[in-house]
């Protein structure tokens, strides 16, 4: 990690024009993003969006869901009292497993993109 930092420092010696254009480059140091971080971010966004649908949006439709009953419990109520909570627990366990797989896939790789190498070797991993 300290190594990559050092290389980054030398790279910032570039001109002002380069710095202005830097945000256009995908794996630029200005973006501070690595394939590992992008994979992590994708997973996090997926989990949070799923949660927002399950825990924020669906309860708004409780009245409609209540038309159906499971074992005598209206579905809308069941959802808030049991089902939705169980879905969230499963989501957390799945996310944990998925992230663990990411962690292993990226273990030993560069922790940051190196400035000039366009890092073609990491492209397949990122595309997963």
């Amino acid at each position: 990690m300290t190594g990559s930092t050092g290389q980054y420092e030398t790279h910032t010696g570039g001109g002002r024009k380069l710095r202005r254009l830097r945000h256009l480059r995908h794996a630029s140091p200005g973006d501070l993003s690595s394939p590992y971080w992008r994979a992590t971010r994708r997973l996090a966004v997926g989990v949070v969006v799923t949660w927002a649908i399950v825990a924020l949006a669906l309860p708004l439709a409780s009245e409609q869901l209540d038309a159906v009953s499971i074992m005598g419990i209206p579905l809308g109520y069941h959802f808030g009292a049991q089902l939705g909570l169980i879905v969230i627990a499963v989501l957390m366990l799945l996310a944990t497993r998925r992230q663990h797989r990411h962690d292993r896939n990226f273990a030993g790789e560069h922790r940051l993109p190196l400035p000039d190498a366009a890092t073609p070797s990491r492209q397949p991993a990122e595309a997963q």
């Binding site: 009245e63 209540d66 009953s69 909570l85 169980i86 292993r104 990226f106 273990a107 030993g108």
Partner: protein
């Protein structure tokens, strides 16, 4: 790397930490508050459960593992590293205030159970609890508190399971409450109709247990869920265990397992609340006024149960009060009986005819959970505040001493505030989480996910968010009359409520002497009904502050120079691959 680390990895397994976290998530105040609120609000209370679950989920995806990755930081330590000293002081103060509010709820829960089950005076119980928490938090190390709480999880979960497993066993011969839960809910709906038919319930005040959005609008429910989730995701006492795990994976595992443990017990809370509601409707409403059960009189003596507007201390008092009502009921009607929300769980054995030995059993389990949670809140706060600078030697010692001092002040403030009985337990807990969601969540989340977030943006964002939510909570609770008069145009109160408020104001203006004090109390009660912005409940006001805080953070960060130096190093480290997988 060593300069960013906080110390040697502890030897606790994810399972131990997870059980401790679950016990923390089932702290006395949470259990009593949730059961009471669920029983009172029915369907609308479920937004709270979804909010709690959401907090764990946001923590596991957006916060905890990343703080671990950055160097096993707690909330304040992370803010210190990422945004510098000023931001750390702001974050530390906000965290301390949020913890004080949550702690006050635990103290109140402790006072309540010792009053009901063991007849201890509230002031004595509060003082004893404060002393015990100070002593234990000073003496205990974080990992011993964790072990203690992990052990506590099992009796606590068992104590919560018994009152719903016993009836299921009696009804269908199988100890699975899920089999009878549906029947209980259906029975509640049928009883509501029956009582309305017999004029034992008031059609204006009765809220159908299974119908959604009777006590809050859909948007207000959503905001409550979101507000709880945001606050829970960034609070130091929930983050400390995962961020001290041996690896980032273990940090996630701790949280995920913790939630599974929590859920095992939390799934018992809606059935417990339904059982209490059912018992109230089936066994107490419609009873003869002169036949008050013993347990109700015990609650009445503790000031937790009122019948016909007076504390239900004796049959004589109640009979006189009921006879004095305009329609002089001879049978108890639903709106004649008022059992304090927070005492619902302790009233459950009496309400549904369960063996009464359950009351002290539940009280002991809940009291122990509340005490342990209080100790953990203080320990975690102390440890969270102690290391922001990460200094060694003299400076580190001074920071640690200051952190201990702040933690002790928080205990005193919380116990003092709890003695004034500010609100019901769930409201107090939700206030603490709303303040955390408004003050800490934008800065912590942006610090991890947005490399462009700057120190100035974080400081101003935290202060603006916290101030707005704190204003909303304090003003609607303690200064409802001026709040309503300032913001009357924003209130969503109906004509009836506004007319009641104006009538109360006229009475207050005309009264003098002792009458004026009584009129002021009435005026305040009426004002609290109408004082709001667009129907937003104070327990959901965290979203308001978080929104403002995020906006300020974005705008200020955009016009201040990019973070550099150590903040930049921290972001690189945070976003680097998983070396410890």
């Amino acid at each position: 790397m060593s300069n960013l680390d906080r110390g040697p990895a502890p030897a606790l397994t994810p399972t131990t930490s997870a059980m401790a976290m679950a016990a923390d998530g089932l702290s006395g105040a949470i259990v009593l508050g949730l059961v009471g609120t669920l029983a009172a609000l029915g369907h609308d209370g479920l937004a709270l459960l979804l909010g709690i679950a959401g907090g764990w989920l946001l923590s596991i995806t957006l916060v905890a593992p990343h703080l671990h990755h950055a160097g096993r930081f707690g909330t304040t330590a992370f803010v210190a590293r990422r945004f510098g000293r000023t931001a750390a002081v702001a974050a530390g103060l906000i965290a301390a205030m949020c913890v004080a509010v949550l702690l006050a709820a635990e103290f109140k829960a402790l006072a309540l159970v010792s009053r009901v089950a063991f007849g201890v005076e509230p002031t004595v119980a509060l003082a004893a609890a404060a002393v015990a928490v100070v002593v234990l938090a000073l003496a205990a190390r974080a990992d011993s508190v964790t072990r203690m709480q992990a052990l506590l999880y099992i009796p606590l979960a068992a104590a919560l399971a018994v009152p719903i497993v016993l009836p299921a066993l009696a009804a269908v011969g199988v100890p699975v409450p899920q089999l009878t839960y549906g029947a209980v809910l259906q029975s509640i709906a049928a009883l509501e109709l029956k009582l309305l038919g017999e004029e034992l319930a008031d059609p204006v005040t009765l809220k159908a247990y299974l119908r959604p959005f009777t006590s809050s609008t859909p948007a207000a429910s959503l905001l409550v869920t979101l507000s709880l989730a945001l606050g829970l995701a960034v609070l130091p006492h929930l983050l400390q265990r995962p961020t001290h795990a041996a690896s980032a994976h273990r940090a996630r595992l701790t949280l995920a397992l913790g939630f599974v443990f929590l859920l095992l017990a939390m799934l018992a809370l809606p059935p417990l609340a339904a059982a209490a509601r059912h018992g109230l409707l089936a066994n107490l409403v419609g009873a003869d006024v002169s036949q008050l059960p013993d347990w109700l009189r015990a609650l009445g003596a503790a000031g937790l149960a009122q019948v016909c507007g007076v504390d239900a201390v004796s049959v004589e008092a109640v009979r006189t009060a009921c006879a004095a009502l305009p329609d002089a009921p001879t049978r108890l009607r639903l709106h004649d009986i008022e059992i304090a929300r927070d005492a619902t769980l302790l009233a459950l054995p009496g309400l549904s005819g369960l063996p009464m030995f359950l009351v002290p059993v539940l009280a002991a389990a809940i009291g122990a959970a509340a005490l342990a949670a209080a100790v953990w809140l203080v320990t975690a706060l102390r440890d969270d505040l102690a290391v922001p600078g990460g200094h060694a030697g003299e400076a580190g010692k001074a920071t640690a001493a200051l952190a201990t001092l702040v933690a002790m002040l928080v205990v005193v403030a919380a116990a003092t505030w709890a003695a004034t009985d500010p609100a019901d337990l769930m409201t107090m807990l939700a206030w603490g989480l709303a303040l955390a969601g408004a003050g800490l969540a934008p800065a912590v989340v942006a610090g991890i996910w947005w490399h462009r977030a700057t120190a100035a943006g974080a400081v101003l964002g935290m202060l603006a968010g916290f101030a707005l939510t704190a204003y909303y909570i304090v003003a609607t609770r303690y200064f409802a009359v001026p709040f309503y008069e300032t913001w009357a145009a924003f209130s969503n109160a109906g004509f009836g409520a506004v007319a009641d408020f104006e009538a109360a104001r006229d009475v207050w203006a005309a009264a003098d002497g002792a009458e004026r004090t009584a009129a002021a109390v009435l005026l305040d009660t009426e004002a609290r009904r109408v004082a709001n912005w667009w129907g937003l409940r104070s327990i959901g006001s965290g979203v308001l502050g978080a929104g403002l805080g995020t906006l300020v953070l974005l705008l200020v960060s955009a016009v201040t120079p990019r973070p550099s130096g150590s903040a930049r190093l921290l972001i690189e480290r945070l976003r680097g691959g998983a070396k410890d997988a």
